[in-house]
C-alpha cells in the first residue's frame, strides 16, 4: 500500500514539474513585443548594460536610461548598472529615483528566478500538504515543507507586487517631448517631458499614450516619443537617432 502511495506522489511531482518546463517558450519562439531582431536574440542584462553604455557615450540619454532600466530589471542586484544609471541621470539633470528598502529586499534576484523559486515553493507546499495527510505520524516534517514553500511563494508575490508598476513605466527618449491635454497634437502642449524622464502609462488611445509623471502631472504623449521599459507585443522599439 505504501509503495502505491509513493508511486502516486512521484507521478504527481513529475507531472507538476513537466507542466511549467514544457510550457517554457524558447527564445526564438517567444515574442518580446519589441523589434524583430530582439525576438531572435533575446534580452540579456550584460548586453543591455553594454548597449546602454554605448548610448550614454553617444549622448542618447533616453535610450541609455531605457536600456539601463531594462538591464536592471534582469539583474536588480548589479551595482554597475545602478551606478551608471545614476550617473547618466545625474549628468542629464534628471531626478534620482532611489529604490526603497522594501523594494530592495523584495528584488534580490532576477524576476524569472523569483518566479521559478515561487513555482518550486508551490510544489514544495503542495507535496508537503499531501504527504502530511498520507503519513500523519511525520506530520511535523511535512508541515515545515509547507511553510518553506509558502515563504517562497510569498517572496515571488512580493517581487511581483514591486515590479508591477515597472510593467507600466516608460522612458522619454526624445528631447522636450510635448504632453497634450487631449490625445491630439493640437494647440500648445500642457507641458514638456525631458529626455530620459520616467513616466507611468495609464491609458492608450491610437497614437497617443496617457502618461503620469513622477510629479503627478498627466498628459497625452505621442507613442513614438516614449518607450516602455517592458515592451508590449505589437509595439515597435524606440528608433535610434543620430547624435
Amino acid at each position: 500500500m505504501k509503495r502505491f502511495y509513493r508511486r502516486w506522489i512521484c507521478a504527481f511531482l513529475l507531472a507538476g514539474l513537466s507542466l511549467p518546463l514544457g510550457a517554457v517558450p524558447t527564445s526564438a519562439a517567444g515574442s518580446s513585443g519589441s523589434a524583430a531582431p530582439r525576438a531572435s536574440t533575446g534580452f540579456a542584462a550584460a548586453a543591455l548594460y553594454n548597449q546602454a553604455n554605448t548610448f550614454a557615450r553617444h549622448g542618447q540619454i533616453g535610450q541609455a536610461v531605457l536600456h539601463y532600466e531594462q538591464a536592471l530589471l534582469l539583474a536588480p542586484a548589479d551595482a554597475d548598472i545602478a551606478a551608471n544609471l545614476q550617473a547618466v541621470r545625474a549628468k542629464a539633470g534628471l531626478p534620482e529615483v532611489p529604490p526603497s528598502a522594501m523594494d530592495r529586499a523584495l528584488t534580490p534576484l532576477a524576476p524569472d528566478t523569483m518566479a521559478w523559486l515561487g513555482c518550486g515553493g508551490l510544489l514544495l507546499a503542495g507535496v508537503g500538504a499531501l504527504l502530511s495527510r498520507l503519513q500523519p505520524e511525520r506530520g511535523r516534517t511535512f508541515r515545515v515543507m509547507v511553510g518553506a514553500g509558502a515563504l517562497l511563494m510569498a517572496g515571488m508575490m512580493g517581487n511581483a507586487l514591486v515590479l508591477w508598476p515597472k510593467i507600466h513605466e516608460a522612458v522619454v527618449f526624445v528631447p522636450n517631448a510635448p504632453a497634450w491635454t487631449a490625445p491630439a497634437a493640437a494647440g500648445d502642449p500642457a507641458f514638456t517631458l525631458r529626455e530620459g524622464e520616467m513616466v507611468s502609462i495609464r491609458a492608450t488611445r491610437q497614437r497617443f499614450l496617457l502618461i503620469r509623471t513622477a510629479a503627478g502631472r498627466s498628459g497625452w504623449v505621442a507613442r513614438g516619443e516614449i518607450a516602455r521599459v517592458v515592451p508590449v507585443i505589437g509595439e515597435t522599439a524606440a528608433p535610434a537617432r543620430q547624435t
Binding site: 531582431p37 550584460a46 554597475d80 551606478a83 550617473a87 515571488m156 517592458v230
Partner: protein, 621 residues
C-alpha cells in the same frame, strides 16, 4: 604715314589674334583625368575631361576598344579675378571595362599624355566591390573601402537615399565609417526636412555634419544633386539586422495632369516633345504644383553583428574594438621627490574611441597616483580615427632612479578577430631628494581627486560587462505571463484535487468498516438461526459451531480481520483475559466437535442466551 603704318600693324595684330583664337577654338585644350588607374572587372572608374570656357560641343569621349564611356554628368567652375571672369567646364564619364586587361586612353589634346587603365580580373582582386543598382542603369561611383550601395529611386524619380558600408559583418561595439548619400532632383525636391536617420535600434549613427558634401550625379539621364554625409556607424547588439537610412523631404507634385501642358495633336504629337513638356522646370514654370512631404529610405542592407568572443578576453579589456597603437611619455625626465609629473598614454588608430578606456597606473610602489583624465582628438569628421590621450598625475615619493611601469591597453581587432594587448615601454625618471625642511604641498586639485576607480575617467561610466550569451525571450517577468500563471493554476488545482482525493479515500475507508459491520450482522443473524435449528435437533456440535461463527463474525467486523482467522490465541491476546464467556463458547465448540457432547433443551436455551448476551455486549462496545 606713320599713323597709317601703325593702324596697319594693329590690324595685323588683331587679325593674328583672331586667327589664334579660331585655332584655339578648333582644338580646345582638354585636360583628361582618371580617378583611378587600376580597377577590378565589374568595377568602374571615372574619367573627367575639363576644358576652358563654357562650350562642351567639342568634347567627346575617346574611343577605346573594350571600354564603355557613359556620360555621368557635368559641372562648371567660374572664377572672378580682378573683374575678369574665367570659366571651366568638366564632363565626367563612367568608364566601364568589358574585359580585363590594360587599356590606353589616347591623349585628347596636343601635348597631353595618354592615360593607362589596368583592369584586373575579379578573381585576382578577390574583393571587388559590388556594383549592383536598382532602378539606375549605371553603377554608382565607388568610394574607396565602401561598397557601392544601391540606388533605389522613388517612384517619380525625385530622390534616392544610398547607404554605403565597408562591410556587412561587424562586431558588437565596432565602429565603421559609412557614407550616406541623398540624391535630390532639382526642381522636384523642394526641401530636405531633416538629417538622415537610421531605421533600427541595433546601431548608432555618429554626428552628421550640418553641411554635407555636394556633387552631381546622372542617373537614368537625369541629373541629381547628391548630398554626402561621412559618419561613423557603431553596432550596439549582436544578431542579424537589416539597416536602412531614411530622410524626410518635401517634393513638388503636379496638381494638374501632365498632358494639359502639351497641346494635343499637331506639331507636338511627336514623342520627342514628351521630354520637353515633362521637364520639371517647365512644369514649375507653368505652375500647377503642390508640395508634399515624403520620407525616402535606402534599400535595407543585411548586416550580421557578432558578439565579442569570450575566449581570450584580457582582464583589462574595456570594450574597445578597432586597431590601435599606444605610446606613453612623462612630462619630464627629471623630478624632485614629491613633485607631480604627468604621465600621458596616447592611443591612436581607428575604431570605437568611445570605448577606449584605461585606468592608467593603479597602486605602484614608490609612486602616488591619481585619477586620470582623457581627451579625444578626432582625425576625421566622423570621429572614426584619431588620438585619445589619457593624462594621470603621478608623484615620485622617493629619490633615485625611478621607473614608471608600462601601461597595457587591450582591444579587440576585428581584422584579426582576436583580442590584442599593447604595452607601452617603461619610463625612467631621475628623482632628486626634496630640499630639507620643505614639505611639498600637493596641488589642491590633486588632493581632491580620489584614487583610480572602476569608472571610466572620460565619461564617468563603469566598464562594459562580459556577455555570456544567456538570454530571455521577453522582459516581462514570468509571473506576469499567462502561460506561467496558467501553469501555476493547474498545479494548484492538481494539489487541491489530490487533497480532496485523499479525503474522499479516507471517507471511503470509513464506509468499508460500516459495510463490514452490516455483513457481520447478517452473518450473526444467520448463525443464530442455525443455532436455533441445531438446538431443535439436539445437535450440540452444530450449535456451538454456529455460536462460534456468530461471535467470530461480530469480532471480525470490530477488529477488521477475517472472522474465520480469529482463534483462542487471538482472544487471549486482544481481550487480555477479559472475555471468559466468549472463550468458553470457543472451547465448547472445539470439544463438541470431537466429543459428541449431548445437551438438553434447557442447556441449549441457556447457551443461546449466553451467546446473545456476548453479542449484545460487543455490539454496545
Amino acid at each position: 604715314m606713320k599713323t597709317k603704318n601703325r593702324l596697319s600693324l594693329v590690324a595685323l595684330w588683331m587679325a593674328a589674334c583672331a586667327l589664334a583664337a579660331t585655332a584655339h577654338a578648333a582644338a580646345p585644350e582638354v585636360t583628361a583625368q582618371l580617378d583611378r588607374t587600376e580597377i577590378a572587372l565589374g568595377d568602374s572608374a571615372q574619367l573627367t575631361l575639363t576644358v576652358p570656357g563654357t562650350d562642351i560641343d567639342g568634347i567627346a569621349p575617346p574611343t577605346v576598344p573594350g571600354l564603355e564611356f557613359v556620360d555621368a554628368g557635368q559641372s562648371s567652375q567660374y572664377q572672378f579675378i580682378n573683374g575678369a571672369v574665367s570659366a571651366n567646364i568638366s564632363v565626367t564619364y563612367d568608364v566601364i571595362p568589358q574585359h580585363a586587361g590594360n587599356f590606353t586612353i589616347p591623349p585628347l589634346s596636343r601635348g597631353s599624355q595618354p592615360l593607362i587603365l589596368h583592369v584586373l580580373d575579379a578573381s585576382g582582386t578577390g574583393n571587388a566591390p559590388a556594383t549592383g543598382n536598382m532602378g539606375s542603369g549605371l553603377p554608382p561611383p565607388v568610394t574607396s573601402g565602401l561598397n557601392a550601395g544601391t540606388t533605389p529611386l522613388t517612384a517619380d524619380g525625385a530622390a534616392f537615399v544610398r547607404l554605403r558600408l565597408p562591410k556587412t559583418e561587424l562586431y558588437v561595439g565596432e565602429t565603421v565609417p559609412v557614407e550616406i548619400q541623398v540624391g535630390l532632383r532639382p526642381g522636384i525636391v523642394a526641401d530636405i526636412n531633416g538629417l538622415p536617420t537610421l531605421n533600427g535600434d541595433a546601431f548608432i549613427l555618429g554626428k552628421l555634419a550640418a553641411q554635407p558634401d555636394q556633387s552631381q550625379e546622372v542617373i537614368q539621364g537625369q541629373t541629381y544633386t547628391v548630398l554626402t554625409w561621412h559618419a561613423a556607424l557603431a553596432a550596439v547588439k549582436s544578431g542579424e539586422f537589416s539597416l536602412s537610412v531614411e530622410t524626410p523631404l518635401t517634393v513638388r507634385v503636379r496638381a494638374v495632369p501632365q498632358r494639359r501642358l502639351r497641346p494635343a495633336g499637331g506639331a507636338f504629337a511627336d514623342p520627342m516633345f514628351d521630354d520637353f513638356f515633362s521637364d520639371s522646370v517647365l512644369q514649375n514654370f507653368f505652375g500647377g504644383t503642390t508640395e508634399k512631404q515624403i520620407t525616402v529610405a535606402s534599400e535595407p542592407d543585411a548586416l550580421k553583428i557578432l558578439a565579442l568572443p569570450a575566449a581570450g578576453r584580457p582582464a583589462g579589456f574595456s570594450g574597445a574594438v578597432g586597431n590601435f597603437e599606444v605610446s606613453s611619455e612623462l612630462s619630464a625626465a627629471r623630478a624632485v621627490a614629491g613633485d607631480p609629473l604627468t604621465l600621458r598614454l596616447k592611443v591612436t588608430g581607428t575604431g570605437s574611441f568611445d570605448r577606449v578606456n584605461s585606468p592608467m597606473l593603479g597602486d605602484v610602489a614608490g609612486w602616488r597616483t591619481y585619477r586620470p583624465t582623457a581627451k579625444f582628438a578626432p582625425a576625421d569628421s566622423a570621429g572614426y580615427g584619431g588620438e585619445k590621450t589619457f593624462e594621470q598625475a603621478v608623484i615620485p615619493e622617493q629619490p633615485g632612479r625611478r621607473t614608471v611601469p608600462g601601461v597595457a591597453f587591450s582591444f579587440f581587432n576585428p581584422a584579426t578577430r582576436r583580442y590584442e594587448t599593447k604595452l607601452t615601454a617603461p619610463l625612467s625618471v631621475a628623482v632628486s631628494p626634496a630640499p630639507a625642511g620643505s614639505a611639498t604641498p600637493l596641488a589642491p586639485a590633486l588632493v581632491a581627486v580620489p584614487a583610480p576607480t572602476g569608472a571610466n575617467p572620460h565619461d564617468g561610466l563603469r566598464q562594459d560587462h562580459v556577455e555570456t550569451g544567456s538570454t530571455v525571450a521577453t522582459l516581462r517577468p514570468l509571473y506576469f505571463q499567462p502561460w506561467f500563471v496558467g501553469t501555476q493554476g493547474v498545479l494548484v488545482l492538481c494539489f487541491a484535487g489530490g487533497l480532496l482525493a485523499l479525503r474522499q479515500r479516507e471517507r471511503r475507508a470509513g464506509d468499508v468498516g460500516a459495510a463490514q459491520r452490516r455483513q457481520a450482522a447478517v452473518a450473526v443473524a444467520h448463525c443464530l438461526t442455525e443455532m436455533t435449528a441445531a438446538a431443535a435437533a439436539s445437535d450440540a456440535a452444530r450449535f456451538f459451531s454456529a455460536a462460534r461463527a456468530a461471535l467470530q463474525a461480530s469480532l471480525g467486523a470490530r477488529w477488521h480481520v477475517a472472522p474465520a482467522s480469529i482463534t483462542l490465541a487471538d482472544l487471549d491476546a486482544r481481550l487480555n483475559g477479559d472475555g471468559s464467556g466468549i472463550r468458553g463458547i470457543f472451547s465448547l465448540a472445539d470439544e463438541a466437535a470431537y466429543s459428541g457432547q449431548h445437551l438438553n433443551a434447557a442447556d441449549f436455551q441457556q447457551w443461546m442466551e449466553t451467546v446473545r448476551d456476548q453479542l449484545r455486549k460487543w455490539e454496545e462496545l
